[in-house]
């Protein structure tokens, strides 16, 4: 295995040095036997073969979801006394007060794990979940923290996790993109750079399936152009390209470009059946909340169901983005509606994956870019209480594959200001996430900008407690 990896590394270096980025030759000489997206063996055995990453954009509060802090009720409205570091952002300075959680918590599942009582559906799934309370981000700035969580590089430009995973494992279905992103109607802060292929070849770019309109940009021709019309043009294109190919018999790249048009039209044909939920039984739709009178539930439910269908169809990595968690004010209503919107869809997803057996081989991750503070500045009197950003503590859970079931790993301090047990930085989480997918961050490297690059940037440590 390692010899093979070394060889491919050397080949890549050679290609880099000879100016042929992997991409330009991948379709011809280098991987003639196996395309860049062909399914590949993992570095080590792992149950999970694919991943659904539920990204809660905006910074969900750990204190108001899965990490109850009764102490805050006691301290409510008293001044937050903790010393701030000299590297504090303007947002976190000034006079601040503790804010209690407006939510009731309940013990859920057989194990009695405590979660916000406004997750009635999710409560039924907690025995499958591993809650992690020890993760810390490094920035309280949305785009930087999002880039960090999604690409390992706070300043953007690097490949997304899904790109790394597809680069490592290829895909089970080459007629679909290997890495699919299901964003909200609006793109998150930092935009498409959150799922960019960075310096990896374009095959590994995340394909955003848009929540409205054609799922893939330009997947369909302008309205009024029929498949027949298109096919005729495609045939002429094929004939002209064939004549041209005869004139340049030594020019291998031409073949790849000809093939890419055919592949595009296979994708065009296959995609609608994957994104079409009409064939799902009513009970499944109901399970997720598709058709729910609350449009938020309906929209997220569709994306969660789509995620399962994607994974089922062989897509390697699906990222579902659910925004709106940036509740600086009115945490009860702002977070409350988010919680309601996501509760049924994510519980439905877990239930569905479990009953179809897919949970065994699908890792599900739920995380935001950072957590929220136990305190707040004085904003509009006590009715407007919300929470600011907090990089030192954040909510995260895992389920499926080799993730432990029904466990709480790590802990935050008594007010939820900072993680204090099993504390790890984002890069360690990245190492762990890859590990759970059978990939070794230290081996999953790509030669770019003069060095071997990796998701964790400079290497990280496996969080053993998150592996069953």
């Amino acid at each position: 295995m390692s010899t093979e990896a070394d060889l491919s590394r050397t080949r890549r270096e050679f290609l880099y040095r000879s100016g042929l980025g992997l991409g330009s030759v991948a379709l011809s000489a280098l991987l003639a036997e196996a395309g860049p997206l062909s399914a590949r063996n993992p570095h080590h055995k792992a149950k999970a073969k694919s991943c659904i990453f539920l990204l809660m954009e905006g910074g969900p509060s750990h204190i108001d979801t899965f990490d109850p802090k009764p102490k805050l009720t006691e301290l409510h409205m008293t001044e937050f006394a903790k010393e701030r570091t000299k590297f504090a952002a303007a947002m976190n300075t000034g006079k601040r007060h503790y804010v209690k959680s407006p939510f009731k918590f309940r013990h859920a599942g057989e194990l009695g794990i405590e979660i916000n009582a406004r997750f009635p559906h999710f409560a039924g799934a907690v025995d499958d979940i591993c809650f992690y309370r020890g993760l810390q981000a490094e920035s309280v700035n949305h785009p930087t923290a999002l880039y960090h969580l999604n690409t390992g590089n706070r300043f953007g430009g690097d490949p997304g996790i899904g790109s790394w995973v597809s680069y490592g494992l290829g895909t089970e279905n080459e007629n679909l993109p290997a890495f699919v992103v299901l964003p909200d109607v609006a793109y998150p802060q930092g935009g498409a750079a959150n799922w960019s292929n960075g310096f990896l070849p374009a095959h590994y770019q995340g394909t955003a399936l848009r929540a409205q309109g054609a799922p893939v940009l330009d997947m369909n021709p302008p309205s009024g152009v029929t498949p027949e019309h298109q096919r005729k043009n495609l045939d002429l294109l094929g004939s002209l390209n064939a004549i041209h190919r005869q004139r340049h018999p030594d020019h291998d790249e031409l073949e790849a470009r000809i093939e890419s048009y055919e592949l595009a039209f296979r994708m065009q044909a296959e995609m609608p059946s994957v994104v079409d939920l009409a064939n799902e039984p009513a009970s499944t739709l109901e399970l997720y909340g598709v058709g729910d009178p609350n449009p938020e539930v309906d929209a997220i439910a569709k994306r969660c169901l789509l995620a399962r269908r994607m994974v089922e169809a062989g897509v390697r990595f699906v990222q579902v983005i659910v925004g709106g968690w940036d509740s600086h004010d009115y945490i009860e209503s702002a977070h409350g509606t988010r919680i309601t919107a996501i509760d049924k869809p994510m519980a439905g997803l877990l239930t569905d994956l479990r009953r179809t057996g897919l949970l065994e081989e699908t890792l599900v991750v739920w995380a935001g870019e950072f957590g929220r503070s136990p305190d707040n500045g004085l904003r509009g009197g006590d009715k407007a209480w919300g929470r600011d950003h907090n990089a030192k503590a954040m909510p995260l859970w895992l389920a499926g594959g080799d993730a432990p079931r029904g466990r709480i790993v790590g802990a935050t301090d008594e007010v939820g200001d900072s993680a204090v047990e099993v504390v790890h930085p984002i890069k360690d989480f990245h190492v762990t996430l890859l590990h759970l997918l059978g990939l070794d961050d230290a081996k999953l490297t790509y030669f770019a900008q003069g060095r071997e690059k990796q998701l964790s940037q400079t290497g990280g440590e496996l969080i053993r407690e998150l592996v069953a």
């Binding site: 303007a90 030594d250 890419s260 595009a264």
Partner: protein, 870 residues
């Protein structure tokens, strides 16, 4: 006193074990006493002037290694050190020969050696093991070797071809050659008339092609094409990136500066000086002020959620890396946290180079528009932005009115002025939905408030030391969030592990020690003043003896002609970059470049006159087996054209390309789904993407498209456009199916195909022939003509039976979004922009024959021949 030194020195020895160390008394001693002593009394013979006795006292390594008499020092033991004994005049060797040094100086040397002989301000002190580098990896740091090559490029390629027993391919035919040269130099295909004129030019191939090259170099299209290459390297964008992605309203002046510089063949050394230190070196030259926009091209944002020290450091790292990458072809970023693992660049050098930027502040300077900057469209452009602002102000007014009424009612007063001031809250009486909508309106307005500054005579630039009035850390009140860094007296420290929280040893501005060590170019003296640091750095970069600069640029120019550099990683001439296939040729080019006064156009002429450039793209016998990568250049390697070339060529061939030059970026037609995509920013939404109303404004060359970091034209992006975050050394040409979606399904392709068809019907009798001539620069073969004509016939019949769908109407966008206040979904309407939209020609406006011809045009745009240069 002496005793005190000993204690400090002992500490330093302990500390010296780690490469990066905060305590510096030993270094102080070295800097204040030892170094001046050595410089004044010793280096004349043992280092700078001569190397008598093969002894080099310039580095600690040199001292330890010693000369023909053995080591000069034994660190930690002065009495065993030859240097000390010689200075003491106690033994056989007495130095300096002119007479002994003062006792204090000799004692200082003794203590210094006893304390471990630390060097300060010299990278040699760092952990870097200079001996570990292999000569073959250091080629780029060695002085450029002047090669005599009367036969030019071809004589330097010949030997390896002969060794491989490959007879290079013959000269390409004239039609192929003019297409190659025209796309290379202008990014556009030649017109059929140009092809014809060259094809029938009775002059010799050499003379005729020389004239073609001259004509192309004189074309304003040349600067647009080659300026784009440079913008790839510098990551040009019109916005700042990250959350808000605010416009940098004056960045376009840098883009135009780059284009002008190429068109005017500005000597490259001057071009570099201006970009690194134009404000310091040529303060009275407005071009040089505009040039400094280079230093700020990376993405950068500071908000209330940012930490000043962090965003400041982020810029310092960015500019250090960007400068090294662009001009020196080195990946300096690797040395930020630890000594470079592959190249002889200690971390300390990284921070020394960074110190050159430590006193630099962002500035938005007043700078009158130049005669070369066409401001004729400004009044109109400004009016358009004002129109958008007025639209939004009106909306905002409606919310204000609701609040006023609510408050007046609440307080039972008939005049708003009677509402107590403390209660006049903007959100008063608004529903959650209205509150959130008002925020979006405000956010849009804050964006337009920036955008409208495009038309003001300001420069996106820098100053050395802060000029308050010009301070430019970002719109939206970002300035108030930012603690002002001290730009005047900046102490730079090595950041251990790259972390701001672990400042290590203090460093002074400097350059890469490896260059001095390996090439002999002496490192310049930097004054640790506020101004002048960048000037010193820039002058060192363009010193004709700098081994990197001319090589890097000559290699880039070669790369854009041949698809691959002689050293094929144009941004990395270090160990991990590819070794040059023809080092003597690269050096010959680099020295010719400097001899020609750093003229890039001269370099083009030299390269394009070569046989190598003019060869056919058919591989000769044996090439595939003995040189599969064509590194010997026995034939011309075909390559796919870049995204912008493809778009511009489609526009040109369709007769739709506008050749207007310069000015603020314009919004072309992009995928409508992408344009309508809502995008969150901090606390709101970015204003929608509004296409230009006039066709000619939409159909400008791609280099003038407004480059929004958060919304790159998806067609450009999918066709491997340049990253706006990382320097792009060379466009990738990976083929993926989504490219077919963009080109074969995209509305722009359909629209331009129709325009092309319409042009053909208006201009030509033999439409098929003309279509091939315009698209490919050649007539169709019999077979092709027959295929095309049959297709038109079939499709005409098809279109007769299938009347086109009506044009998609442009309408206001209704967005459904979750409120961040309540989490509930609410609707927000984005109005259509307040200007006329000049529609493209639509299928419903033309005959079935024209629609059928448009199908042929669409196929030509998508064909491989259109997408490749041979």
């Amino acid at each position: 006193m002496v005793h005190g030194w000993r204690i400090k020195l002992a500490l330093n020895v302990w500390c010296g074990a780690s490469a990066l160390c905060a305590a510096t008394p030993a270094e102080d001693l070295f800097r204040e006493t030892i170094q001046p002593t050595l410089k004044q009394h010793c280096l004349g013979c043992h280092g700078e002037g001569e190397l008598f006795g093969k002894l080099d006292l310039r580095s600690r390594e040199g001292l330890v290694k010693g000369g023909s008499r053995g080591p000069a020092i034994v660190p930690g033991d002065a009495s065993a050190s030859l240097l000390y004994r010689a200075l003491e005049h106690s033994g056989e060797l007495k130095m300096p020969p002119a007479g002994p040094l003062p006792d204090e100086a000799v004692a200082a040397v003794r203590d210094w050696i006893d304390g471990g002989a630390a060097f300060a301000e010299r990278p040699e002190k760092a952990s870097l093991d200079w001996g570990a580098f292999k000569e073959e990896d250091l080629w780029a740091f060695r002085a450029v070797k002047k090669t005599e090559a009367p036969g030019g490029i071809d004589s330097l390629l010949r030997r390896k071809l002969a060794e491989a027993e490959i007879n290079p391919a013959p000269r390409a035919d004239r039609r192929t050659l003019i297409r190659r040269a025209t796309i290379d130099l202008t990014g556009l295909p030649p017109t059929p008339e140009q092809v014809e004129a060259f094809g029938t030019d009775p002059a010799s191939d050499k003379a005729a092609f020389g004239r073609v090259v001259d004509r192309l170099l004189d074309s304003p299209r040349y600067g647009e094409r080659w300026g784009r290459h440079w913008l790839d390297v510098t990551r040009y964008a019109d916005t700042a990136g990250f959350s808000n992605d605010y416009e940098r309203p004056n960045a376009w002046r840098y883009r135009d500066y780059v284009i002008r510089s190429f068109n005017n063949d500005k000597p490259y050394d001057r071009f570099v000086l201006e970009q690194v230190a134009g404000d310091e070196l040529f303060p009275d030259d407005p071009e040089a002020i505009l040039a400094t926009g280079f230093l700020r091209m990376g993405p950068w944002e500071h908000t209330g959620m940012s930490v000043t020290a962090v965003t400041r450091q982020q810029w310092l790292d960015d500019v250090t890396h960007a400068t090294a990458t662009a001009f020196l072809g080195l990946t300096l970023g690797c040395a930020k946290c630890h000594d470079h693992k592959f190249d002889p660049i200690p971390t300390k050098d990284y921070y020394r180079v960074q110190s050159a930027f430590a006193t630099t502040a962002f500035a938005r300077r007043p700078l009158a528009f130049l005669p070369a900057e066409d401001t004729s469209g400004f009044a109109e452009g400004k009016k358009r932005v004002e129109g958008l602002i007025a639209q939004l102000e009106q909306k905002r007014g409606r919310y204000a009115e609701i609040s006023r009424r609510y408050l007046m009612e609440k307080f039972g007063v008939s005049r708003f002025e009677d509402v107590p001031e403390v209660n006049r809250k903007q959100d008063a009486g608004l529903t959650d939905e209205q509150m959130w909508a008002r925020r979006i309106v405000n956010k849009h307005l804050s964006h337009h408030a920036e955008s409208i500054k495009r038309y003001r005579p300001l420069a996106f630039s820098v100053t050395s030391g802060l000029v308050e009035d010009w301070n430019d850390v970002g719109p939206g009140g970002a300035g108030s969030y930012m603690k002002k860094p001290d730009y005047e007296q900046v102490e730079m420290h090595v950041l251990v592990g790259g972390s701001l929280e672990s400042p290590g040893e203090r460093v002074a501005p400097g350059v890469l020690s490896a260059v001095e060590r390996y090439s002999g170019l002496q490192a310049p003296e930097f004054a640790e003043t506020t101004a002048g640091r960048r000037a010193t750095l820039a002058e060192w970069i363009v010193d004709p003896l700098n081994p990197l600069t001319a090589r890097v640029m000559a290699n880039r120019v070669w790369q854009y002609h041949f698809g691959r550099g002689l050293a094929s990683n144009a941004n990395n001439l270090g160990k991990m970059g590819a070794k040059p296939t023809h080092p003597a040729l690269l050096d010959w080019l680099a020295s010719r470049f400097v001899e020609e006064g750093w003229s890039v156009k001269a370099l083009h002429r030299i390269i394009m006159a070569s046989e190598a450039y003019q060869r056919s793209s058919d591989p000769p016998d044996g090439a595939a087996e003995r040189d599969p990568g064509n590194s010997l250049l026995s034939y011309f390697t075909p390559r796919r054209v870049e995204a912008e070339v493809l778009r511009d060529s489609m526009l040109a061939v369709a007769g739709e390309l506008s050749l207007a030059t310069g000015g603020p970026g314009t919004n072309p037609q992009i995928s409508r789904d992408a344009a309508e995509q809502p995008r969150f920013t901090q606390g709101g939404l970015r204003p929608p993407y509004y296409e230009e109303g006039r066709r000619e404004d939409r159909n400008r060359r791609s280099v003038y498209s407004f480059q929004q970091r958060s919304l790159i034209d998806p067609m450009i992006e999918v066709l491997n456009g340049a990253s706006v975050d990382l320097s792009c050394e060379r466009r990738d040409s990976t083929t993926v199916p989504t490219q077919a979606f963009a080109l074969f399904n995209g509305e722009l392709s359909y629209d331009l195909a129709l325009a092309f068809a319409n042009r053909l019907r208006n201009e030509a009798e033999r439409v098929v022939d003309r279509a091939f001539e315009l698209a490919y620069g050649r007539s169709p073969s019999e077979e092709e003509r027959a295929l095309a004509e049959r297709h038109i016939e079939e499709m005409t019949a098809y279109h007769r039976d299938h009347p086109p769908a009506p044009r998609r109407q442009r309408k206001a966008l209704v967005r459904a979004l979750p409120s961040q206040l309540s989490g509930e979904t609410f609707q927000f309407t984005e109005d259509l922009p307040p200007w006329e939209y000049e529609e493209n020609l639509h299928a419903s406006q033309v005959e079935p024959e024209t629609r059928a011809l448009a199908d042929l045009a669409l196929v030509l745009f998508n064909s491989n021949e259109f997408a490749y240069v041979y």
